[in-house]
């Protein structure tokens, strides 16, 4: 039997992009070959285009209303589910990381960290609001409170130097806070990103909440920054020229720009509720308080 199995032709995986809960090929029909340091060809990967990004923004915008309106508890459950799914497919990720030059020990620890990070943010889903909200003691007879609300559609360029950890570290705070997003995977290490999209797709995460593209940063970054229906852009590289380009283009619609070039994702400082808050708006609501006969109602 062993012999026949040796003869069996392995089924190769097609690495496609993830938009609106579907796995289309890039509309451009272009691809590039992902390689590793030994110059082995690992896979043909979609070379995502401006129009793929456009489609992803439409998908993210459509998903925003529903996702932001989900109960925070439910978002937490879904993030937890993503972690469970990732745990179940750990071997595949370790395998892919090793193909992309990681050692077994490092790959294992990276996947474990990703799972733990998802669980960390799962827990924050229904807690950060309590920490960062306030009831404001205004002098007039009004009840006044401030709460964080998601900024909207976030376009993020994932850290380019690692395959999975950076991606997960960027995606988790976006969706934990109720935003939807478009994430550009590491161009040099794209395999895990596509496989992670499959994890997302099997985790009760509604289609369109996270959209993952593969392609070249230099080509796509202007669109991540100038699209008028994107509310925030996240960039993680210490590349001053690109940072400037993003900030300039962001001014077209007063986008929020978050630069995470100094973050060490593999340490404890790579996770915190402040990453969630970076992509939140503070909303303040006023309402009059009746005061008949008795003492003044105050907060």
């Amino acid at each position: 039997m062993a012999k026949t199995s040796e003869k069996r032709l392995e089924v190769l995986k097609t690495y496609k992009i993830y938009i609106g809960g579907q796995f289309p090929r890039t509309e451009s029909g272009r691809y590039y070959v992902a390689t590793n340091s030994k110059n082995e060809n690992l896979a043909n990967v979609c070379l995502g285009s401006r129009k793929d990004f456009r489609d992803a923004v439409v998908a993210a915008r459509n998903a925003f209303g529903g996702w932001s309106a989900r109960a925070a508890f439910n978002r937490g459950q879904i993030l937890y589910r993503i972690a469970e799914m990732l745990e179940g497919r750990k071997a595949q990720f370790i395998d892919e990381l090793m193909k992309q030059d990681s050692t077994k020990a490092l790959a294992e620890s990276e996947v474990n960290l990703c799972i733990d990070r998802l669980i960390y943010y799962s827990g924050w889903c229904d807690k950060f609001q309590q920490l960062f909200s306030s009831v404001n003691p205004v002098a007039s007879s009004h009840f006044n409170f401030s709460v964080p609300e998601p900024t909207g559609v976030v376009a993020a360029i994932a850290p380019q130097n690692d395959s999975l950890l950076g991606l997960v570290s960027v995606i988790a705070p976006i969706i934990a806070g109720g935003n939807t997003g478009i994430v550009l995977a590491s161009a040099t290490k794209p395999l895990c990103a596509v496989t992670f999209a499959e994890v997302l797709n099997s985790s009760d995460l509604p289609g369109g909440v996270v959209n993952i593209l593969t392609g070249k940063v230099g080509e796509l970054v202007p669109f991540f920054a100038d699209h008028m229906d994107v509310n925030a852009t996240v960039f993680c590289e210490a590349d001053a020229a690109t940072q400037k380009l993003i900030k300039e283009k962001a001014s077209l619609n007063v986008k929020r720009v978050l630069l995470y070039d100094k973050v060490k994702w593999s340490t404890a400082t790579g996770q915190s509720p402040y990453f969630i808050m970076d992509l939140q708006e503070i909303k303040t609501t006023w309402h009059p308080i009746e005061n008949i006969g008795g003492a003044k109602a105050g907060y």
Binding site: S141, H142, P288, I289, E290, I292, G293
Partner: protein, 303 residues
């Protein structure tokens, strides 16, 4: 009468916002009333007063004195208007009518088991008819607050309509006793019931319950009058009563009246102050305007 089909469903909720009403009412107090506007306002306020005595110890003598005061507010200041009316209990109507003669000052009588209104309807009707037969030009009735608070709006409506009928040609003022209704929503509802049932005036208070008239509660009633006017074309008069004793406050009420119902209401056919001590405060202010020196109560008669 208002056509039956126009009478609204009084059990439906009304929408008055307490904080908003109070904010708006306080805005009127920010108006700065100076010089000739102040003089005209004070004269007008004087002319809108229902000079009132409603005490268990009222006597013919007391009422006669009050009626004299009504006609001679302060003879040292020539050209003053008279007050609008004298307001007394039914037993004093005859005395007041005689004392006022043809001065043009009206006699208003409280009725309907004032101030509580806790009497059977036929007693209230007899009370009203007695006042009218004795010469009352105006009748100040009280609504049955207990029934109102029980939600018996039809009872309250029918009672007002019955008293209106008993009034004949006398104008009917309907006292809501807002201090017992407590919320502005209820004041608004009671105002609507009174107007649709035939009130000529709506009036805040008996003066026996605190709080009596306030600017916000009066504003709620003025707004009710405005909406009623736009719905039916019929003007209803307003009388805040109790608690208005200073001329500055009276001027604020007039600003509120002027900016809520407009100049069509700026006379004593359509607005009254139910007050007893307001007159002297206005007189002191008028004398201050005239002489330029601050006044002492010793120079103004008390009746």
């Amino acid at each position: 009468m208002i056509a039956t089909k126009m009478i609204p469903d009084f059990s439906a909720p009304v929408h008055v916002d307490q904080v908003g009403i109070e904010e708006r009412a306080s805005r009127f107090t920010k108006r700065s009333i100076k010089n000739e506007t102040k003089l005209n306002g004070l004269m007008l306020a004087l002319n809108m007063i229902d000079l009132t005595t409603l005490e268990g110890k009222d006597t013919n003598g007391k009422v006669k004195q009050l009626c004299y005061k009504a006609q001679h507010l302060h003879d040292a200041y020539p050209g003053l208007p008279t007050v609008a009316a004298i307001c007394v209990y039914p037993s004093m109507v005859k005395t007041a009518k005689a004392a006022l003669g043809n001065s043009g000052i009206k006699v208003a009588s409280v009725a309907t088991a004032f101030p509580s209104g806790q009497a059977p309807r036929d007693v209230k009707i007899r009370d009203t008819k007695y006042a009218v037969q004795n010469g009352a030009d105006e009748v100040d009735m009280v609504i049955s607050r207990g029934k109102f608070l029980e939600g018996e709006y039809n009872f309250v409506f029918d009672e007002i309509a019955a008293i209106k009928e008993a009034c004949g040609d006398a104008r009917l003022k309907v006292i809501l006793e807002t201090g017992e209704l407590v919320t502005y929503d209820k004041v608004r509802k009671a105002s609507d019931i009174a107007m649709y049932a035939g009130a000529d005036f709506i009036k805040t208070s008996t003066g026996k319950i605190s709080p009596a008239a306030t600017m916000p509660v009066t504003l709620v009633m003025l707004e009710a009058i405005r909406d009623f006017y736009y719905k039916t074309g019929k003007k209803i008069a307003m009388k805040p009563a109790g608690g208005i004793s200073k001329s500055k406050l009276a001027l604020h009420y007039l600003v509120m009246l002027n900016e809520t119902l407009g100049e069509g209401w700026m006379n004593n056919e359509w607005f009254r102050f139910g007050a007893s001590s307001l007159a002297n405060d206005i007189l002191m202010q008028l004398m201050k305007q005239k002489t330029g020196v601050y006044q002492s109560a010793n120079y103004f008669s008390i009746d």
